[in-house]
């Protein structure tokens, strides 16, 4: 085959291969937008859920909440200095065996 004919055939073959490849890739990627949208929606939903849960956790962990709950459950602030009071009726052992 003449070199010029070979080059021509080669060029046509390359053009056909690249065109087919482009068609295949475009077709593949054309539907990824749907997946991307779904992923984005899922990410948004999880972020919102995370934010709501964080709000609930922080609300429960707040000192003001803990103090209010302590008051409603009958805890009172000690007016005297902190001291250990043993109220058990059993004798207190001198030392606990580890």
């Amino acid at each position: 085959m003449k070199p010029s004919n070979f080059l021509l055939m080669f060029g046509i073959a390359i053009a056909i291969v690249l065109s087919v490849t482009r068609i295949i890739l475009s077709a593949t990627f054309s539907t990824t937008g749907i997946d991307l949208d779904n992923i984005q929606a899922q990410t948004d939903s999880l972020q919102k859920e995370n934010m709501i849960l964080k709000e609930q956790v922080l609300s429960q962990a707040a000192l003001t909440t803990v103090a209010q709950k302590a008051t409603t459950q009958g805890f009172e602030e000690s007016s005297t200095k902190t001291q250990l009071a043993v109220t058990s009726s059993h004798a207190v052992p001198v030392a606990y065996k580890q």
């Binding site: 990627f29 054309s30 990824t32 937008g33 749907i34 991307l36 949208d37 984005q40 919102k48 934010m51 709501i52 964080k54 709000e55 922080l58 609300s59 962990a61 707040a62 000192l63 003001t64 103090a67 200095k81 902190t82």
Partner: protein, 561 residues
Amino acid sequence: MRWRYLAVFVFFIFAFVCVWAKLFYWQIVKADELSALEQSQSSLNLQIPPIRGDILTSDNFPIVTNKMSYLVYADPQEVQNETTTAQLLASTLTIDVASISAQLDQHDKVWVPLAANIDNTTKQRVAALNLPGIDFQETPTRYYPEASMAAQLLGFVGKDTFGNPKGYFGIEGYYDRQLRGRVGETQIIRDAFGKPVFAKLVNNSGQQDGRSLLLHIDRVIQFIAERKLEEGVQKYGAKSGSVIVMDPKTGAILALAGYPTFNPQDYWDFTDDEYKNPTVSNTYEPGSTFKPLVMSAAINEGLVTPTSTCPICGGPVKVSDYEIKTWNDQYFPNTNMIDIMIHSDNTGMVYIAQKLGLDRMLDYINKFGFGQTTGIDIQGEVAPQVKPRDSWYATDLATAGFGQGIAVTPIELIDAFASIANNGARMEPHIVDKIITPDGQTITIPPKVLDQPISEKTAKIMTEILVDTTNKGEASFARLKGYRIAGKTGTASIAKDGHYDQTNTIASFIGFAPADDPKFVMLVIMDEPSVSIYGAETAAPVFFDISQGIFDHYGISPTGD
């Protein structure tokens, strides 16, 4: 025959010229317009708002963070049964039916707001009603898990003139640029179904979330200070009160409380006066809490020692046309410096001030930081001016000796006083410890020494005098036995319209502990207490109450007096 060929040729040339002309028109002349049309049809320009940074207390608890809130809106043209819709929404949102009906009645509009800042639970309840024409818009808002704790320190987030979030007052105002981040823009290319095209994904230009702040504020100490302050203000019938707790060695602010305060979640329900932080924005004459600074100056200059005696303390002291008396009209001839402080003897302080002289007095006032802002990182700090030298009279020097005739802010006073607890070095007060970038890097703000007004030796001498003052002075009945606390009471007259109020005072107590290795310095102020006007009987008990809480929190045991 030849003319037929020519005619066909001309016709084809003409046809091609027409095609070229049309192509030129669409591709060159109309290029921009068509490009814009294509952009609007297939692409979407979005603004990406930044997430505002969190504010964390020293234990990494987010005292200010963000949450999702919702705006409920309606399309009046889509709403089917206005009366039923309004009633259902009113009962679910607990707002007036009439206001909802008025909004739904605007049939010329396609978007009307109904309720803002709705939480997720309420939003779910409204969504469950399945009302046509009703929808939601997400808006991130600030969330305060500890409610109004440290409100005057934190400030709040409102809107600027363009409707963008902006911090006002406190930390939110001072660090607004760090917290707010940067808005970005992105372009999304969409296919014919409106789905994003994967191959041409976003270019995120410039969006950056805000930086977070880690504070020195100790949440437990802040909680204790606020609770005890509120109890104290109510118990002693004061108009208001404030507390500052600071680490004297670093200037770190551990707690900063004011009462009354406001709720930053509903800041619009409060007035400007309630937003202001009184510890940096209010000025007052400090009274006897200023005496340790004057005595320190005299000791530092070698003018007096703890055992030096006062030759003029046998009775009232005459200065120009005025007679200066002690607070209780009791006099101690030849009293020494320690007893002057224990008895809070005004005549003794006049003696010291006169010995110091005006030039040295002004020099030490400057070194202790009065007349200039401390540099604390909170919006709203003021610095009352010290009178120029040629405006001082003999009476001004005398009264400055016991803290009258000179105006200070609470933060100025505690910052100056803290130098006694820190070997004479005055530190810059700071609320923020670290700035945290969105990608996790931290920028630490180091402690800063502002000045060395007194020597380490003077500081130690003054510390012992103040321990004696706490143990034997007017507030000794309320002190915590077993702890060495260096402190001083203050009962200052209030200057009003050119004279001093005869009935009301600003009562205060300032001190640090443990005296030998101070972990905190604290100032408690009661504004116009009505049960008793004296600092020893109002501010001092509050001070000791809070101190007990701090000792328990830090696990500091009594060491003996």
